[in-house]
């Protein structure tokens, strides 16, 4: 195991610890928006950042060429957004939903392995920017997906009168509905910027990576319009944010294998 992979394994263990800590606390009924969650998320993020830096040194470019690298980069972006978007939403609880997703993505990356690769010719910083912004956009969609799950959980508890431990920790559903909208809009904006950059790259339109990115863009543009026009209820919007994320997730395979 290389040093970079040791960093990633340590980061994954940290996020798994965050999951276990939250679940144990929930089970005991004493779940609080704890400092421990924040400490674990911060430590995990630092280790992820260490991995990306070391991996970048190994491959001589921003590590986004293999599926495993992309998974880690998105996981890193999710945690980054968790800190950036989080402060306004009592989002230490988002850790409960974020850390399992990040753990799964990183375990998949570790199992998949990290094949060595080298840049073909000189590294084009515009291509790297295009890819990085697209991946952060996907992270925003992933967070919208997580927030959608939170909305559906809270909505179900309210409808069924199941007022339990988690109920008291989740934000108001109106706030969650607003968060989904903001995250989808943020992701759409970032993806638009990324696709805008692609025009400057003179990439052929037939490139399957680009076509799939446009499909993802179209999906989230549609969700945004539906939300903007109030065509669908927040519950359906939450479902769209959850199920819709499958598409960008599939696109990762296409992007890495095309």
């Amino acid at each position: 195991m290389t040093l970079s992979q040791q960093f990633l394994a340590a980061a994954t263990l940290t996020f798994v610890s965050a999951v276990v800590q939250a679940l144990l606390a929930l089970k005991s009924g004493a779940w609080k928006q704890g400092r421990m969650q924040l400490v674990l998320m911060t430590l995990g993020f630092a280790l992820q950042t260490g991995f990306i830096y070391l991996r970048g040194q190994e491959v001589g470019q921003c590590p986004m060429k293999s599926l495993s690298d992309i998974l880690v980069f998105i996981a890193w972006s999710i945690v980054l957004l968790y800190f950036l978007v989080g402060s306004g939403y009592r989002l230490s609880l988002l850790g409960l939903f974020t850390s399992p997703l990040v753990s799964i993505m990183q375990i998949m990356a570790l199992v998949g392995g990290f094949a060595p690769y080298k840049p073909k010719g000189q590294v084009n910083s515009l291509i790297e920017l295009h890819a990085a912004v697209a991946l952060i956009a996907y992270a925003a969609f992933a967070l919208a997906c997580i927030t959608g799950v939170m909305y559906l959980v809270q909505e179900r508890m309210l409808k069924r009168h199941k007022i339990g431990g988690l109920f008291y920790q989740l934000p108001p559903i109106q706030g969650l509905a607003g968060a989904i909208q903001r995250l989808v809009r943020l992701g759409l904006l970032l993806l638009s910027i990324s696709l805008g950059i692609s025009f400057a790259l003179h990439t052929p339109v037939s490139n399957p990576k680009l076509i799939f990115s446009w499909v993802v863009w179209a999906l989230y543009a549609l969700i945004t319009v539906l939300m903007w026009k109030h065509v669908t209820s927040p519950r359906r919007t939450a479902w769209l944010a959850v199920i819709g994320f499958i598409l960008p997730f599939i696109s990762l395979w296409i992007v890495t294998h095309a």
């Binding site: 007022i163 431990g165 559903i173 109106q174 109030h230």
Partner: protein, 358 residues
């Protein structure tokens, strides 16, 4: 560690609360807020007394003091006499007065339980923490506390925080009013929340007042008797509405509390479906505390609408109470651990705990 050669202060607590004394007696023995500074000075001025704190709330009156009297019994008797004299109790009332007299570890344990909300009428309530803090601050500002009581009260605040942080004693709602607030908070941001009362029953009033006290934005009252609606609205600084007009503003409110005496459903699914379209899916909480019910249960099937009737609210409040009772053992364990840690449970000869004055 060298043994301090010091005189040891005794600690006493004398008090009455909602368990020992009915409200008609408690209200006569309560210290008005403005008189508390004078009271703490009077207690400290009693012969043999060195420090004092007076806690006076609607549910309890307690005198905490550090003294150098020969025994706790002397302290208890002096404080009892002070209360009788201060409130000018007739001999028959003085004789009937039931007080609890606590010493050292018992007094500390009692204060720790009070601060943690374990001795409150509503188990685990948090208001008492602030009330004890305020009482201590008055004594501190007046200069009637010194090392012993400063240390005791600081320890009590630490214990109170520990109990609340490490257990869920304050979680959950234990009354219908607080359940209504909790539900409203999980649907909307309360600061933006507009409430409408359809019917002006006592329970609606309680729920609306709970919501307003927690920051709800505004309240509209609609009642068959318009005069009663006006009266209640003015009491809550809200707006009164004629009963035939309440439907016209349904789409503008976020929480509806219904308590009419109608023998049939007053709020029906078709009305709410129209309202939800106008609200652009903004969620709506309906609290139906009428018996027979005012709101057709089918309303709960509409997306974005959350309906709770009186049984549902009561069941949640009962769960909340049970959950708090389950936490009681853990809370008491923490308090005992802290009493041990601070040296209150050590043998009388020990000088480890805080009641040592140099």
């Amino acid at each position: 560690m060298p043994e301090p050669t010091a005189n040891r202060s005794g600690l006493v607590c004398v008090g009455l609360n909602y368990k020992t004394t009915p409200v008609e007696v408690r209200e006569r023995l309560a210290f008005p807020e403005a008189q508390v500074p004078q009271a703490v000075q009077q207690v400290r001025g009693l012969p043999g007394f060195e420090e004092s704190v007076v806690l006076s709330t609607c549910n309890r009156v307690e005198l905490y003091a550090a003294h150098s009297l020969p025994s706790g019994d002397h302290g208890h008797a002096a404080l009892r006499d002070y209360l009788v004299t201060h409130f000018k109790l007739q001999p028959e009332h003085a004789e009937a007065l039931v007080l609890y007299n606590l010493d050292s570890a018992e007094a500390a344990r009692h204060l720790f339980r009070v601060v943690s909300g374990l001795d409150s009428m509503v188990l685990g309530e948090t208001e008492i923490f602030g009330q004890v803090k305020a009482a201590y601050k008055v004594a501190l500002d007046t200069g009637t506390t010194s090392r012993a009581l400063n240390k005791l009260f600081q320890q009590a605040f630490t214990v109170g925080k520990k109990v609340r942080n490490e257990t869920t004693i304050q979680r959950g709602s234990t009354s219908v009013g607080s359940v209504a607030v909790d539900l409203a908070e999980k649907v909307h941001d309360l600061k933006e929340c507009r409430v409408m009362l359809v019917g002006a029953g006592e329970m609606s009033r309680t729920c609306a007042q709970s919501l307003l006290s927690r920051g709800a934005k505004s309240v509209i009252v609609s009642n068959r008797s318009y005069d009663k609606a006006v009266e209640l609205a003015s009491e809550m600084k809200g707006t009164a509405l004629k009963f035939e007009e309440w439907e016209s503003v349904l789409h503008e409110v976020d929480v509806i509390i219904s308590s009419t005496s109608a023998p049939h459903f007053v709020i029906k699914p078709e009305q709410i479906e129209q309202v939800m379209r106008k609200r652009r899916w903004n969620p709506l909480l309906l609290i139906d505390i009428a018996v027979p019910r005012d709101v057709d249960p089918a309303v709960n099937e509409i997306e974005g609408v959350y309906l709770y009737d009186i049984d549902a609210l009561q069941a949640i409040a009962d769960d909340g109470r049970r959950e708090r009772e389950r936490q009681l053992v853990a809370c008491e364990r923490i308090i005992e651990e802290q009493l041990e840690k601070y040296g209150f449970l050590q043998s009388p000869g020990s000088t480890q705990h805080g009641f040592v004055t140099s």
